[in-house]
Symmetry: C2
Subunit: 200 residues, 2 copies
């Protein structure tokens, strides 16, 4: 089995959501695992002095249309959230705490969060909702609630975001295969070719 694929994402990034529905199956075709790493895209933009596509006035309408159309193209349910974007701090902290307990549980939780926000209209910035989603996939609500406010977990999220910036990440999803970086769900075909051929 080759090196794991690194998957940086933000829970409130629509294209990250689309990639999250595809990346594990794609990796599995080539006998690869994927390491999921939520980061705070807002903090990345702030550090780099850049602006998200959707916040650029001229791009807003197109982006909203493209989110939904790309979701249909990939066969992924999508309903643009009423409140968008929202803070992804709570689900990201929850993810890292759960990941310390049980990697598979953290993965199920991540899917649950993405789908709750992008298909089912739930406010994933709300800690109560995050706890509810985690409980649904089998987490211990009380332990998780305590874990989310643990300093180690808070630091972990900040450190992962800083590490992403240090690796050159400026958007999401950001996928690294054997040191080669790919930005965006629309690079999945290139990632597939890369895995198939070992680089092109």
């Amino acid at each position: 089995m080759g090196e794991p694929i690194l998957f940086y994402f933000d829970f409130t990034s629509p294209y990250s959501y689309l990639a999250s529905e595809k990346i594990d199956a794609l990796a599995a075709k080539f006998d690869r695992k994927v390491q999921w790493r939520p980061v705070l895209l807002g903090a990345i933009f702030k550090a780099l002095g850049t602006v998200s596509l959707v916040r650029q006035l001229s791009m807003g309408d197109y982006s909203l249309k493209d989110f939904a159309r790309s979701a249909r193209f990939h066969g992924v349910p999508y309903r643009h959230p009423e409140s968008f974007p929202v803070s992804s701090v709570a689900p990201s902290r929850a993810y890292y705490w759960l990941h310390g307990q049980d990697c598979a549980l953290a993965r199920s939780f991540a899917h649950e969060v993405f789908r709750a926000y992008f298909a089912n209209g739930r406010d994933i910035a709300d800690t109560a909702i995050v706890l509810d989603l985690a409980t649904k996939v089998g987490a211990d609500e009380t332990a998780l609630a305590a874990g989310m406010s643990d300093l180690v977990i808070k630091n972990r999220l900040r450190e992962e975001t800083d590490a992403a910036i240090a690796k050159g990440v400026f958007g999401a999803p950001w996928i690294i295969v054997d040191g080669e970086a790919f930005w965006g769900t629309d690079r999945l075909p290139q990632i597939e070719r890369w895995l198939e051929t070992g680089g092109f």
Copy 2:
């Protein structure tokens, strides 16, 4: 035969070049023609107050890598120009003048310009080189040289750029199929699905 596909591009846009190598064959599969429309991306960015991806410091290195990798992915020869970007005014004006004389000739010229800049290291901002490329595909050099400084042609390029902005174009390539807008070479698979299904 359905409505023609509208293909907005800038001669100095790498992804426009990649799309230029694919769009006609894709359209032909669905018995469609393509209307090629060079515009000045710099003027569009200026009008909208946006910045090209490659000029955003954090995105520069990735973009350069992605241009070349995407070209390899699509099987298109690519050598990043030493001087990049350059003005695309001269080849764009030449295109519109040629288009008034002979559409097929204008198309051959457009391919010649893209390949000269992105594969063969020629400076397409230079009028002498533009005339040389046009002559190579069969244009009358003297008539073209006069046509390029004709006020009607100068206005035409400005009007096409303004029309693009009015249609919401904020990047290139920008491809419109039956009123549906697609931004970027990476949307070619969606365009293909759209043509196949009549919308999804």
